[in-house]
């Protein structure tokens, strides 16, 4: 990451540019303008090229969506696979075997572990500890970085065992999996998961000591909510302000809007505005479904809900790491391979919608198929586009609190506030430029 600051007192303008920010995934720029000490302008400009996935899914056989949409993201391909599979299964009236359902949760645990470990230690922790990046941080925090890499490797291994390979896995399909692991293969993960559970707890205790800026917006949190489980693949869509709907009604409640400065659409709740998806939302709406020892630790660390400080999302990711390790161990202990790895899909005309919980938040898919099973229309709403307007709203609220700080500090905090959301603007390019104009 490089920073350059040019100060032109004659014009009364200060411009700060941060080029090649490594710790945000995607291609975008933040423009901030301050005049006479007041915030005038905040825009998160997303100029990454359109991906056009929804368009080129049309005409493909619906089961192909599971593999094609996995290509949208290298970090959360399982989320795309799961939302696609569930939506098509709903369109075609398929019911999966309970052990396949459990395996999908296990699959998702792998993705959460690798994604959260990466974000907590390698992308976000340097902000709190005052380092430019994980390389600089590693010199003083070797143990923690080693722990992160080991956690990430475990997450990848879980994905490989279930999905056939770590990146863009190939085993998931409509109706289940092409191939499921043996009991022995699943048990091979137990020792490392037990270590990971302890490591995640240690991480939470460490992260809880970080200095957190005071900032508590009155978010509308949105996530899946299941009566018995911390949500991964299943549940109703709920919010802390009254939403309680099935995925089939998603588009009646949420609206994607085009804004001039962004190639990514902004999602809003109809007639209400921005909302917040991701770990903080899941945590606040599902706290009582976390394992008892996670709830206990959260209380010990004074982090029980309601928790509105987005900077504490890094701590919640640690709690979710603990949950994912515990849940994976539970599923493996109870695992018996299903009689068939998947139920056969009978193509038919239909329309199905599903939401699952990607590491970064709720991911919505909707497919309409013809009688032969070809995709007639597709809609995909990733968590980052749901959070983009909320990120801008956070900056509108947060930046006025720190405008008396040095320019470098304002810029740093603005970036950190964006990273609270672990935005995945694209899996392909990673640039963020911050332009801060002070008049």
């Amino acid at each position: 990451m490089s920073r350059t600051a040019t100060v032109s007192p004659a014009q009364g303008v200060t411009t700060i540019k941060v080029d090649c920010l490594a710790r945000v995934e995607g291609e975008g720029a933040l423009h901030v303008k301050v005049k006479s000490g007041k915030l005038q302008h905040v825009q998160l400009q997303i100029y990454e090229p359109p991906r056009l996935f929804e368009a080129f899914l049309r005409g493909r056989m619906a089961p192909e969506a599971v593999d094609i949409t996995a290509r949208i993201c290298g970090i959360c391909p399982i989320a795309y696979q799961m939302s696609a599979a569930h939506a098509i299964e709903r369109a075609w009236g398929l019911t999966i075997h309970p052990q396949v359902r459990a395996l999908r949760r296990l699959f998702y645990c792998g993705e959460w572990i690798e994604s959260h470990a990466l974000h907590v230690f390698c992308l976000h922790a340097p902000d709190f500890l005052g380092y430019q990046d994980v390389i600089e941080m590693a010199a003083a925090h070797k143990t923690e970085v080693e722990m992160a890499l080991r956690l990430k490797k475990l997450g990848n291994e879980l994905v490989r065992v279930l999905g056939g390979r770590e990146i863009h896995p190939i085993s998931a399909c409509v109706g289940g999996f092409h191939k499921v692991p043996t009991k022995k293969e699943a048990l091979s993960l137990v020792d490392e998961l037990q270590w990971a559970l302890q490591a995640s707890e240690a991480a939470a205790k460490l992260v809880a000591t970080f200095p957190f800026p005071e900032f508590n917006p009155a978010y509308e949190y949105v996530s899946l909510c299941h009566p018995d489980e911390y949500p991964l693949n299943d549940g109703r869509i709920v919010s802390n302000k009254g939403i309680d709907i099935d995925a089939a009604d998603y588009e009646d409640t949420f609206l994607e809007q085009h804004v001039k400065h962004s190639n990514a659409l902004h999602s809003v709740i109809r007639e209400r505005g921005s909302y917040h998806v991701g770990p903080l939302a899941r945590y606040n709406l599902n706290f009582e479904k976390l394992p008892d020892f996670v709830q206990l630790l959260a209380r010990e660390l004074n982090a029980e809900p309601p928790l509105y400080n987005p900077f504490k999302s890094i701590l919640v990711r640690c709690f979710e790491l603990m949950f994912a390790c515990h849940e994976a161990l539970r599923i493996i202990a109870e695992y018996e391979p299903p009689p068939e790895p998947h139920v056969e899909a009978a193509p038919r005309a239909g329309r199905g919608m599903a939401v699952t919980e990607a590491p970064r938040g709720s991911l919505y898919h909707r497919y309409e198929t013809d009688a032969e099973g070809r995709i007639v229309s597709a809609k995909i709403v990733p968590p980052t586009s749901q959070n983009l307007k909320r990120i801008e709203d956070d900056l509108w609220q947060y930046l006025p609190q720190i405008l008396d700080q040095p320019v470098e500090e304002i810029t740093w905090r603005a970036e950190q506030a964006i990273r609270n959301y672990d935005p995945c603007i694209s899996c392909a390019t990673h640039f963020l430029r911050v332009y801060l104009d002070l008049e």
Binding site: M1, A22, R23, D67, G74, V134, N156, A428
Partner: protein, 170 residues
């Protein structure tokens, strides 16, 4: 588009091939197949695979390099090179103590954490392989959706041949 077309190809997917025996170097090909000259890694992987040489593709997850650094005494890396000191198409081979190679490796990944960062993190963590060899072609363009530039395309077979010779001689 390349990765979509070849998603299930056993030879180049990177995780469908068996790991090289410990006595042989592991070959890691880096790059985005749909971004101009950055495709030289995937293209080289394809060519090597046709020769029956096992390769691993690393696309967008440079942190995974750390696992290979720890597991293999000799790592061969293929990635796009930009020095500005040579004409596009110039073939490079860097071989030496990993610390020196790490110091050379550029920080020009579009992912923010690329080969250069992985090598520097490996150096900090004292987790570099005993030997590191890097191959690449001086690049001209990384335009979205573009094919490799003509000079890079012209050097692609030479790149694959050089990497194959390195692998076979070890």
């Amino acid at each position: 588009m390349y990765l979509l077309r070849y998603a299930l190809s056993p030879g180049i997917s990177g995780f469908g091939v068996k790991a090289a025996k410990d006595s042989k170097p592991v070959i890691l090909c880096l790059g985005n197949a749909d971004r101009g000259d950055d495709a030289q890694g995937p293209c080289c992987a394809d060519l090597l695979s046709r020769r029956g040489i096992p390769v691993r593709m690393i696309a967008g997850k440079a942190f995974e390099l750390m696992d290979y650094f720890r597991a293999h005494p000799h790592v061969i890396i293929v990635d796009a090179i930009v020095t500005g000191a040579h004409p596009p198409g110039h073939l490079f081979r860097f071989d030496g103590p990993p610390g020196e190679v790490a110091a050379f490796a550029p920080s020009c990944s579009t992912h923010g954490f690329g080969l250069g960062e992985a090598l520097r993190l490996g150096a900090v963590l004292k987790a570099l392989p005993q030997r590191l060899t890097i191959f690449g072609i001086e690049s001209a363009s990384f335009e979205w959706g573009a094919a490799p530039s003509p000079p890079v395309t012209a050097s692609m077979e030479s790149l694959a041949a050089a990497v194959a010779a390195e692998w076979e001689s070890n």
